[in-house]
Symmetry: C2
Subunit: 349 residues, 2 copies
DNA sequence: AGCGTTTTAGCAAGCGCTTTCTATATAGGG
DNA sequence: CCCTATATAGAAAGCGCTTGCTAAAACGCT
């Protein structure tokens, strides 16, 4: 029915072992032999049986990429950088890996299940992206799973995610705390003293770190935070819109709104504009991430640029063993403050 | 080292065959036996060896989803609907399928390579999303590959993609032509006679179909199209911005700009606004797709809603054999005109 | 020419599961 | 109480590949 290695071997007048070796290219085969084999492969339109190969070799060419929300460009950019680096199609020589992205939708169960599925597939590596979920039980389960994976020889790298100590995973963490602090200090430097903050969902590490940075900046400048100044929402535009309305209702004297990310910031801009407020003359707005649309916004968004594509590419290379892991298995990647039009000096009031 | 089926069998005092059967649940096993086995599985923390299983069963639980651009919400929404339906983690009983998305980046080679990789993995099904590439040679290669997949028992479904006749693939096509026509007719009904059109990349079927619809509407109303009124770009915001500037430079008397999709339309809005033109008082703008951000835009976008999530879910069910394929293996899904604020009556002039 | 090396290729033993076929209990009917 | 259905479990033969080991051929020395 389907053509197998043996068929190719017969046609090329060699043993199956030889065919396997030319296909894997990890063993010397005479040029003339190789050519004959390749010709047979081509003529028979042979496609290697992945499962059989993975079984015999005790490892597959599958690499999994876990993302929280596939429809969010934050993850899209990282995933596509990782995928490009991992090779797969269009990759470098021998790069026939299947890089696949799995969408957890931010659900703890799905996160875990995907990890199990990948483990079952004997994935060669897995990259986990984005903030983790702050739930002790879930984190323990994740860590146990990750440890099991690394022990079984699967390389696990965390990209834009906090380190998982003692699991064997390599972490490329974004310095959300530092970025958040720098951003808020910029606003304070501009003269703002009354700053609203729209945080992400409470259970995500990213949310907490960015908020901590913001508060550290306030504290460093002796600004006492009013509890009314912080609201939690989701990481999307609509949530930013609603949260901003709420914020301005609670305290109309705010002169700046710092958003958990750029989408939220855009929602904030829309809400302010709909309230008849000008940006940045009446209220300044700042975002986080510097996604591609942020510079196009009117006014363009002051934000913290996270090197998503670079970090993704690096994570991909580490996952492939093509780049050395950072010392201690942990690296913190800083964001870069992008000063643009959405934040200015506060209104006189 | 790693625990195998045999270990579980030994622990549960049954044969490996029995363990396999309780795991697959496709053969009667006494309740007491099943329980014993499940207990052993749990105690040993056993994870099935996917490749071995796939080899023996001659099929895997992998399902591939091909997308053109993972960072584009258009694909993100479809992919996430497909993935949800296919089950995988969090799916229905027995739904332990691994639904993975593969990002082709719009490249023909990668498209083909991913298909081969999926074929190699003996994927249970594959879903191809989004417009196809209009290149006879590439399409022939794709069709051949798809035929090979369906012949090997892999279900192939096309979601938002033109049918591939005689390949055994099932198509859920969006009626881009009809949607494009309806949209432009709406604008014409509003009184517009001078309409610019920002098309997508020339080589995509989606681009051609939408443009054909637009032109059909013009023709139906006896409007002769000026060659200056059409420019081609990419499917992103920046491209829309630039194209709009070009369009207005070519013919400042245009009263409406129809964009290939919503991102492009948003870019168009920004360009018009930056040119000092009001929307829709001076120039009307229309998009396509109705992505979530379109209703949030100011003014909200008049556009054609494509049922991305519904179509994705349906494609997923068909791929899983859980829903019957449409008659003839082809279904055309209509979009719905969303009349909103970005398009109004043309300015007097 | 003889011998040790180095290349190159084949043999065959699995990898860990599924599944057909067969065997053994158990139950039901006369 | 025996005989035939029926339910349940096991034996064993692969699935198609990889790879350690071995063998043969080719090469370079002395």
């Amino acid at each position: 029915m389907t053509v197998t290695l043996a068929d190719v071997a017969a046609r090329a007048q060699v043993s199956p072992a030889t065919v396997s070796r030319v296909l894997n290219g990890n063993y010397p085969v005479a040029a003339s032999t190789r050519e004959r084999v390749l010709k047979a492969v081509d003529e028979l339109d042979y496609v290697l049986n992945g499962p059989a190969s993975a079984l015999a070799a005790a490892t597959s060419d599958l690499v999994g990429i876990l993302v929280n929300d596939i429809a969010d460009p934050f993850f899209g950019i990282m995933a596509s950088a990782i995928q490009a680096e991992i090779g797969g199609p269009g990759g470098r020589a021998g790069g026939e890996r299947l890089a696949v992205v799995c969408n957890t939708g931010g659900s703890p169960e799905r996160e875990l299940t995907y990890l199990t599925l990948l483990q079952r597939q004997r994935a060669a590596a897995v990259v986990l992206t984005g903030g983790a979920i702050e739930d002790a039980e879930h984190q323990a389960a994740m860590d146990a799973k990750v440890r099991k994976l690394t022990e079984a020889g699967t390389r696990v790298v965390l990209c834009g995610r906090p380190p998982a100590p003692d699991t064997g995973a390599i972490a490329l963490t974004f310095d959300n705390r530092g970025g958040g602090q720098e951003l808020t200090e910029h606003l304070i430097g501009l003269g703002h003293r009354r700053l609203g903050y729209i945080a992400g969902p409470e259970e995500r590490t990213t949310t907490r770190h960015r908020l901590e940075g913001h508060r550290a900046a306030l504290a460093a400048h002796g600004i006492e935070e009013d509890p009314r100044w912080t609201v939690h929402g989701r990481y999307d535009r609509r949530s930013g819109y609603e949260a901003t309305l709420e914020l301005m209702r609670r305290d109309p004297s705010l002169t700046a709104v710092v958003a958990a990310n750029d989408s939220v910031a855009l929602g904030a801009c829309a809400a302010l504009r709909d309230s008849g407020l000008r940006i940045p003359e009446d209220v300044s707005v700042a975002g986080f991430d510097d996604l591609p649309f942020s510079i196009d916004a009117v006014p363009s968004l002051t934000t913290v640029r996270l090197p998503l594509a670079d970090a993704g590419a690096r994570a991909g290379r580490i996952a492939m063993g093509r780049e050395e892991a950072p010392p201690g298995g942990i690296a913190s990647v800083r964001g870069e403050l992008m000063v643009r039009g959405s934040a200015g000096t506060p209104r006189a009031s």
